[in-house]
């Protein structure tokens, strides 16, 4: 497996995202550009310029027409993928830490930071899925997180719920229409921040990564804890691989301690766990700093990771990855 190294960013990566067809990869970093890359060969298609601060998050709509990005300059921006044109900027009182398009692409949620007397909120914006249309300034919904601020959030299946991960390690379920909080479950250790939340392909369950060194698989319907993946380092990101039943976790020593840590100790590796058996089945080395974000190619052919070291590494899996099976899986196949 030969990774492709993308060095389009000058600072630490914050999020990477594949589009639904898996051919484009979007990356955001603490510098002020969003990059888009062809995932098959690592060619850069372009950059999106306009943000005035670190960019924390990016998401692609289901048709690969738009991307939305959230930044420390207190805006969410909507861009046309093809041309790099900024279509709309929504202003907020604080930085935006996470954006995600709903399953149908007609709504966009944003998670805003708690700061300067403002509570953390989750806002929902209506998006008109047309490049030339005028986008509305209105917030369709605002959920205020008065207990513990939300750090990550996403839309469940059929856009029924909004699921949020909080700074105190809990996960909440909100009604996506009314914004009413339906449930709140402390899945991770108390006050260990939920750092990432990524969905299964059908959005019925999701994986959360946390500073408490575990990643957990949770059902969206009732927030039932399905699986736990323990590791030996604080985790920054986790994703579920399509096609094969694995999960990928990324993490490492806290970014501020990186310069005093040898790469070996730092545990800057992507870890592969079996989704069902919860065993660690492999690691991929390569980054010089903690992995801030990992993303699985929706076609299942590869994955990418973005690190504190400013590099994105795209990996296309070898045959061995697809052939790997547990003994029990093999036995079952033979019986059928």
């Amino acid at each position: 497996m030969r990774p492709i190294l993308l060095s389009g960013h000058e600072r630490a990566l914050t999020q990477i995202k594949f589009n639904p067809d898996g051919d484009l990869l979007f990356s955001t970093a603490k510098d002020q550009q969003i990059c888009v890359w062809f995932s098959h060969n690592g060619e850069r298609l372009g950059t999106y310029k306009g943000h005035q601060g670190a960019i924390w998050t990016v998401d692609v709509d289901p048709t690969s027409t738009f991307i939305a990005s959230g930044s420390a300059d207190n805006t969410i921006r909507l861009w046309e993928i093809k041309t790099g044109r900024c279509l709309k900027a929504w202003d907020f009182p604080t930085a935006v830490k996470r954006v995600e398009f709903s399953e149908d692409g007609r709504q966009l949620l944003g998670v805003t930071e708690k700061r300067m007397g403002h509570l953390g909120t989750i806002v929902v914006l209506d998006v008109v899925p047309d490049v030339d249309a005028e986008q509305s300034d209105e917030r369709a919904l605002t959920i205020v997180c008065d207990e513990s601020k939300a750090t990550v959030a996403g839309w469940s299946y059929m856009d029924k719920y909004i699921i949020a991960g909080h700074e105190d390690g809990s996960v909440s379920q909100y009604d996506a229409k009314t914004g009413e909080q339906l449930d709140n479950v402390p899945v991770h250790e108390l006050n260990m921040q939920v750092t990432d939340l990524q969905w299964s392909p059908d959005r019925t369950y999701f994986i959360t990564a946390s500073k408490d060194k575990t990643a957990r698989l949770i059902a969206a319907r009732d927030l039932e804890l399905l699986k736990t993946y323990p590791s030996d380092t604080p985790l920054n990101s986790a994703c579920i691989t399509p096609k094969k039943d694995y999960v990928i976790l990324g993490g490492g020593q806290a970014a501020m301690d990186v310069t005093t840590t040898a790469a070996r100790q730092g545990k800057f590796e992507a870890r592969f766990y079996h989704k069902i058996f919860e065993d660690e089945i492999g690691r991929v080395r390569g980054h010089f700093g903690p992995l801030n974000t990992v993303a699985a190619d929706p076609t299942g052919k590869g994955y990418a990771s973005g690190g504190e070291d400013g590099y994105v590494r795209i990996h296309h899996f070898d045959k061995g990855y697809f052939d790997f099976k547990y003994e029990v899986e093999r036995e079952r196949e033979n019986r059928l």
């Binding site: 990774p3 993308l6 051919d23 850069r44 298609l45 372009g46 093809k82 041309t83 492999g282």
Partner: protein, 296 residues
């Protein structure tokens, strides 16, 4: 520019960066490859010339029409002026990662890091058992509780009388050596195979080396890192039929380690080759060719 007046050895402060770089060149080679020559400055302000030989191979892939359409999109933003294909400054290929999924990957990686020889030895000795020569118990003779009071069990009757050194070695060499009628003398593994052609000796791999005609094997040293087995074979085949070429390579980098063994079918050819090729210039290095010594 300032650089013209400066001595080449002077330490410049990177102000030279403003000097025009020669334009990149692309040459078409006869064998269908292209050579591109580009220039850039490194972080010390030194000019770096990069010469790349590129072979273009068309690789056909069927993709979704949406994906195909996106591949035709024009570039924008910072990549607006980029040409087709991945750009050197943003995209590079990392070194190969061996990624094998396994339920006990932790153990696997540990084994890899261990000495290869240690593993090979372990492998060889896997099915050997320790046996006392005095009482046939499962311990070394030196540890035998009866060693001061009893003499070894009847030499002829014992399972492995030939062993003089380690009992674990005797299990392999014993029967072969015993057949030759040598009692109590240690037989080095390299010789065992010759004696007992069909004996148990080949379990140790000793016969494998014994079968090879060491008399017609040349040891070639001071071989360039870039050498390939095929090149060596071509060079030595001029003198006669080459039965085997072994070029030691580094496991990680794949570069040659600097020595090779060439076996000839006929010893006379080997003598000829040894005389002719000793001191031969190959890839900027002078080869040293001599007859391989038997492994001690």
């Amino acid at each position: 520019m300032a650089s013209r007046n400066m001595d080449w050895a002077d330490d410049d402060d990177g102000e030279e960066v403003a000097v025009e770089l020669p334009p990149p060149q692309t040459l078409q080679n006869k064998d269908g490859t292209k050579t591109t020559i580009t220039y850039r400055y490194n972080e010390n302000g030194q000019k770096v010339k990069t010469t790349r030989r590129i072979r273009l191979v068309t690789h056909r892939e069927v993709v979704n029409p949406r994906v195909a359409e996106r591949k035709t999109w024009g570039k924008f933003g910072l990549s607006e002026k980029d040409g087709n294909g991945p750009q050197m400054d943003t995209t590079s290929v990392g070194e190969n990662i061996i990624f094998r999924l396994s339920t006990n990957w932790r153990k696997d990686t540990k084994d890899e890091s261990k000495d290869v020889n240690a593993n090979a030895m372990k492998e060889k000795l896997k099915d050997k058992t320790v046996k006392c020569r005095i009482c046939n118990g499962e311990h070394f003779t030196a540890r035998c509780p009866y060693k001061d009071t009893m003499a070894p069990v009847g030499a002829e009757g014992a399972a492995d009388p030939a062993a003089g050194m380690g009992d674990e070695l005797s299990a392999a060499g014993g029967p072969g050596a015993a057949a030759a009628g040598k009692k109590g003398s240690y037989v080095p593994p390299a010789l065992r195979g010759d004696r007992a052609a069909a004996g148990a000796g080949d379990r140790m791999g000793g016969s494998k080396y014994g079968e090879r005609d060491d008399l017609a094997t040349l040891r070639v040293t001071n071989v360039s890192e870039m050498a390939e087995e095929a090149e060596l074979r071509d060079m030595f085949e001029r003198f006669g039929r080459v039965t085997r070429v072994f070029l030691a390579k580094d496991r990680d980098t794949g570069l040659a380690k600097g020595f090779a063994f060439i076996s000839f079918a006929d010893r006379n050819d080997a003598v000829k080759a040894c005389n002719k090729m000793d001191g031969y210039g190959f890839k900027h290095l002078i080869l040293r060719v001599e007859f391989a010594k038997k492994a001690a």
